[in-house]
Point group: C5
Chain length 154, copies 5
């Protein structure tokens, strides 16, 4: 059975993983392996361990960088590490980061985080089971959490 790794943090201010897991289970028969770490920079090795020690076929990595420049640099470092982990394992790790300054209020922020988590969960099921669906959407301006940008009109 396909196993999907879920890596997230105690630093984040909403439980994005919960929404992603519910969406994943609604769409496919899969097993979930969850791994919570303190902060965003702990995610890369957690993802790699999910792949190599817990046999995950794909991983979702949830993070919530703060608005401070220092936090932006942490997010950048985590992202580079997540890309390297993918290259070392030939396995996708779908990064789901929501930046604290992406929404003006807690209410809008939690809605954005939930939507992004759910939409990326759908991306994960497509990568695993419906790659043709992704190819159909190529170049169509898909966004996760926001309204789609849509294709550019020539």
């Amino acid at each position: 059975m396909t196993t999907i790794g879920i890596a997230d943090t105690t630093f984040a201010r909403t439980n994005m993983a919960k929404h992603a897991i519910s969406e994943l289970k609604r769409n496919a028969s899969i097993r979930i392996k969850r791994y919570t770490v303190p902060g965003i920079k702990d995610l890369p090795v957690a993802c790699k361990k999910l792949i190599e020690e817990h046999s995950c076929n794909i991983v979702m990595a949830f993070g919530m960088p703060g608005a401070d420049p220092k936090d932006k640099i942490c997010a950048h470092e985590a992202s580079q590490g997540i890309i390297t982990a993918q290259l070392m394992t030939n396995t996708h790790i779908i990064e789901v980061f929501v930046h604290e300054d992406e929404a003006p209020s807690d209410r809008e922020f939690t809605a954005l985080a939930e939507n992004r988590a759910r939409e990326h969960a759908l991306n994960v099921t497509k990568l695993l089971f419906k790659p043709d669906q992704l190819e159909k959407e190529a170049g169509t301006g898909q966004r996760q959490g926001y309204q789609d940008a849509g294709p550019a009109r020539p």
Copy 2:
């Protein structure tokens, strides 16, 4: 038969891959393997999988970073990953990125994207089949999508 990998995203707002594939097929007898992922940061591992799991001889990676500083950083992270993937596989991955702020209107943007995709497709065929042609063009100020800069006049 030579296989060319084509990695692209659902985030992009035009189907650059389509133009590149048409140009590639017009210029050489090759096989295409396409792999669409959600976003630009998913491209590095997709390219590496095209090379190692789908036996591609070369890969084109199409991405369309947004105008926001956050998007610029994503593009930078993806580029570093694409370079690392090349070094891990000793295989070229031709990066074809068009930044959303490179053109003032949708119309000019889609034209730029198509031209860049087609011109880089020609670069791919040269790398594969006509390396001498590239050597002849060395230092001549070639550009993809824009008018060539041409050689500097001493």
Copy 3:
């Protein structure tokens, strides 16, 4: 017996490792291996050696970047190296950095450094012995050294 590596620097202006070690010993029966290096950029290889040559099961890396832009870049380079070291060893290295400009006075700075060291020591014991506790705290806005941000209110 579980061995926890402790890497720190002579550059730092407080002995954070001392507080972390006291907290670790109070919470679990573990062995400590300490490794002090001159500066923050010497930490990545020290951590890797603690893991590979001293059989540490997890490592804490303590650093105290200065306020100068040059120092910020050093911290960034060290962080990238620490992430790479984790990926090369499949082992967590919990980074505990306190930036010199995070507190207005020496007194507040030393208190912040001690608190962060102790709280991250607790994270280490959770990663080793109580992963379920971390999962319970997922998305709850935990902070180390500062007051917790808490969960976002939907």
Copy 4:
């Protein structure tokens, strides 16, 4: 016989490689293997292939980043890749980049590019055949393409 790899781009606006090759041949009995790629980000893997697939003992990598911030980032990514390629092969790759904004006119630019290419070609021959000569010049403020800075006067 010693083989020197020459990697360059069609993006560059002068044929720096030509000058370097002439300088190399004038100073030593060596074989040249040239490899032209489209742009600066294609250089790292080209260099690695020159070393691993064409048995080059050392490589020169010629690039000409534009003045736009985007181009500066490309140059940075290429440089990181070139350093990584060296670490993966234990082989020197001498980076010869001339930034478009380093000279006020085409005439001065082409002169700068030729001089830098020739002076770095001499560095390559020293690294290969006269390492003692480099040691004699250690700390003497050598520059390539510009007038030497010279040693600091205590």
Copy 5:
């Protein structure tokens, strides 16, 4: 016998390596292997070769980045490469960089460079022969070339 690698550049404007070697020899019975390269970005592979091809037990890397933003980026790239080289070899490389804009005059600059070189040479002997001494200095605000910052007063 312990071998210490010394990597430096012809770009630098003072012979820092000379001072470090004198300090190293005064403090321990060691062998020196020196390797001079043109610029700061050539240091990472030189250090790795000193470790892997010349059996050095530790390496010192001397560089002198210019004041221009371009030079700052070169220094950053070199530093990342030096950290990677350490992780690939499990061997310390002590980076001794002096930035051209760290001192107002040539006279103060050469003094700073000599002091930093000598103090880092002492760090090298401690890492090799007196690790307990480094642990005693942990968190005491040591600086190399400048006056020590000293410990923060709680």
